[in-house]
Amino acid sequence: MTQLADGRAAEAQQPSGRLRFLPHLVRTTAFKLTAIYLVVFAAFAIFVLGYVAWNAKNLLDDQIRSTIDAEIQGLAEQQRLGGIRRLVQVIERRSRGPGASLYLVTTPLGERIAGNIEALPPGTLDRQGESEIEYARSSETLDQTNHAIVRVFMLPAGFRLLVGRDVEERERLRVVIKRAAGWSFLLVVVLGCFAGWFVARRVLKRIDGMNDTARSIMAGDLKGRLAIAGTGDELDRLAGNLNAMLDRIGELMSGMQQVTDNIAHDLKTPLTRLRNRAEEALRTAQSPEQLRAALDGSIEEADGLIRVFNALLMIARLETRQISDSMAPLDLAEIVDGLSELYEPLAEEAGLTLSASVEPGLSLTGNRELIGQALANLIDNALKYGKPEGEAPATVVVTANRVGDMVELGVADHGAGIPEADRGRALERFVRLDQSRSKPGFGLGLALASAVAHLHGGTIRLSDNAPGLAIVMSLPIVPPPVDRPVTEAPQGSTSQPDAAGFQSA
């Protein structure tokens, strides 16, 4: 029993190929379009044929009526001239002739005197005026009926006159139109199906090709691109745009890949150090104090790693512009003086003089924390690498000036500087130039400052301080709306506008 049920279930799950194909076909756009076209064309054909048929019928009916009118006038004339007898003679004569005209004269009791009608529906002669009836001709068999439009008149002394006309012509026309309707319907269906099949085959084939490519890309073939037929139609444009999108995604992915590689590489060193320290303590520590010192060192190392991750997260969030309602007017003198005061003892320790000069009354709209962090990073950088090697003065100068509708925050030192070729790269994440390898740091400070500048709609540029390095953050006094489109790639290209800006400067 269960086996039977299972078998049925299996059958239900796997219908035959044709059944599987049908719902697939029904769901295609081509099928739906074909069906709609068919309905529209059929409706059009029905309307045209119906209109023609209706008009033809009216036209024929009018013709028949006017013929009957003319006959009646003629017969009335005869009756006026020669009474019933003359009328009967005329009718007998006319009845013998071939044609579509029908005549009948009866006595008041309904007996036939003259005419070419053998049988009538009962009561026809009692109805005066026009009616459409079935009748039988005298010359034909009684069971074969024809249709006719007739008119009945009461003659003097209770005689009745019926004049009519067979509508066989009209019936023939109806048959012709019916046949035309049938053929045109068939034609519409056949042509429609053919057109639908043609369109479906052409379009579906290309779309199926696109689907196959998309599937293979999803399966891992990232180099795959959609075929372009070269017809320049909308499918080609779609394929072109999708290919451009895939290229862009590829670029972003390789950028991400590079960042991930850098992160993995640069975090491996401190993690290894952390691990070695713990291992060393396990192996060699003799006293609780030694163990405690090793643990303290490990925690310090871990804190450093957490700081790196925080900085990375911050850069990522700045680049996706997840900072919203935190822009406010800032007093730049407060920020610059405060920060140089904060770092002044550090500068002194490093044997440098830190000085600040701010144009009075300078302010801009921005995020205090972020601009503070960016400037702090620049100052920290200058204190780390700004120690002069030769005769140059051992100073680090922080400046804030207004240039047009921008504020330029600059930090300049007289250290070794950065060679022109490396200046663009210096703003990238985890990029530590060769001369800085020996100093502590992760190479995130300038990347973060650059992200902050971009978030505020500004730029950051590195230039030669002859000797030394001058970094200038150029920020608009009123930043553009936060939700402007992101046009730069997250990695690397943030520095390109700056490099270009520097070369033209």
């Binding site: 303290d296 925690i299 310090e300 804190d303 957490i306 700081r307 925080n310 900085a311 997260l313 911050m314 969030r317 997840q322 900072i323 919203s324 309602d325 935190s326 405060g338 005061e341 904060l342 770092y343 003892p345 550090l346 320790e349 995020n367 924390e369 972020l370 503070g372 962090q373 702090a376 990073n377 920290d380 204190l383 740091g441 400070g445």
Partner: protein, 227 residues
């Protein structure tokens, strides 16, 4: 000190409860926002530690509701969303302090202790702080030690003022950067240490007992060791 930890991560909460107990405090735990809200109401806690992301009722709503009820218990917000905006939003909702995850327990403990002390403190700040023979006059901007005047720069004065205000309590480097300089970012280097050692040179030099102590792995503390 009694504190309530509202945190949905059971492991993190268990760690916090244990660590606070070891530090000599009583800590209760609420696993979601709604229960935390219920427990905090009239629970007689000295400090609440509230995670931002909580099931059933998020952390900021808990704080906002408590404040609407007129509850003044100090609240420290823990958050994995370490970003400037989040701190501002948290404080706007009625939080008293904000600590981004991951954090060092020593940092959390120092901040919680400062918050609980604030609750018991009188409404108006005293005009002078005294620790042993060290005296700071806030109105006259004068610092003396054993009757001798110590000349301090304005920032050094504020640094000492903050340390003395929280005398006997651990004050972390981040707390100093936030409260003395009003900076909420990572200064990259040991700037604070340099400032403290400058201050120490002025305050402790030539005296037998130091006032400013370095608490390893945590921060600094002003304490009279003479007695």
């Amino acid at each position: 000190m009694r504190l309530l930890i509202v945190e949905d991560d059971a492991e993190a909460a268990a760690y916090l409860v244990k660590a606070f107990r070891e530090a000599g405090h009583v800590a209760d735990h609420a696993p979601d926002g709604l229960e935390g809200y219920a427990m905090a109401q009239g629970g007689g806690y000295d400090v609440l530690v509230v995670d931002r992301m909580l099931p059933r009722m998020d952390g900021l709503s808990v704080i906002r509701s408590l404040r609407e009820q007129g509850e003044t218990v100090p609240v420290l917000i823990l958050s994995a969303l370490a970003q400037v905006d989040d701190r501002v939003k948290g404080l706007r909702a009625g939080g008293d302090d904000y600590l981004p995850k991951p954090y060092a327990f020593s940092e959390l403990l120092a901040r919680v202790e400062v918050l609980s002390r604030r609750r018991g403190a009188p409404a108006s700040e005293p005009t002078t702080y005294r620790v042993g023979d060290l005296l700071l006059d806030r109105l006259a901007h004068r610092v003396t030690r054993a009757g001798e005047e110590i000349v301090l720069q304005p920032r050094e004065f504020r640094l000492l003022e903050y340390l003395m205000k929280h005398a006997g309590q651990v004050v972390t480097r981040t707390m100093l950067l936030e409260n003395v300089w009003d900076y909420h970012f990572d200064p990259q280097t040991n700037v604070i240490d340099v400032h403290v050692s400058r201050l120490r040179a002025k305050v402790d030099k030539g005296f037998e007992h130091p006032m400013i102590h370095t608490i390893r792995g945590a921060g600094y503390m002003v304490r009279d060791t003479a007695r």
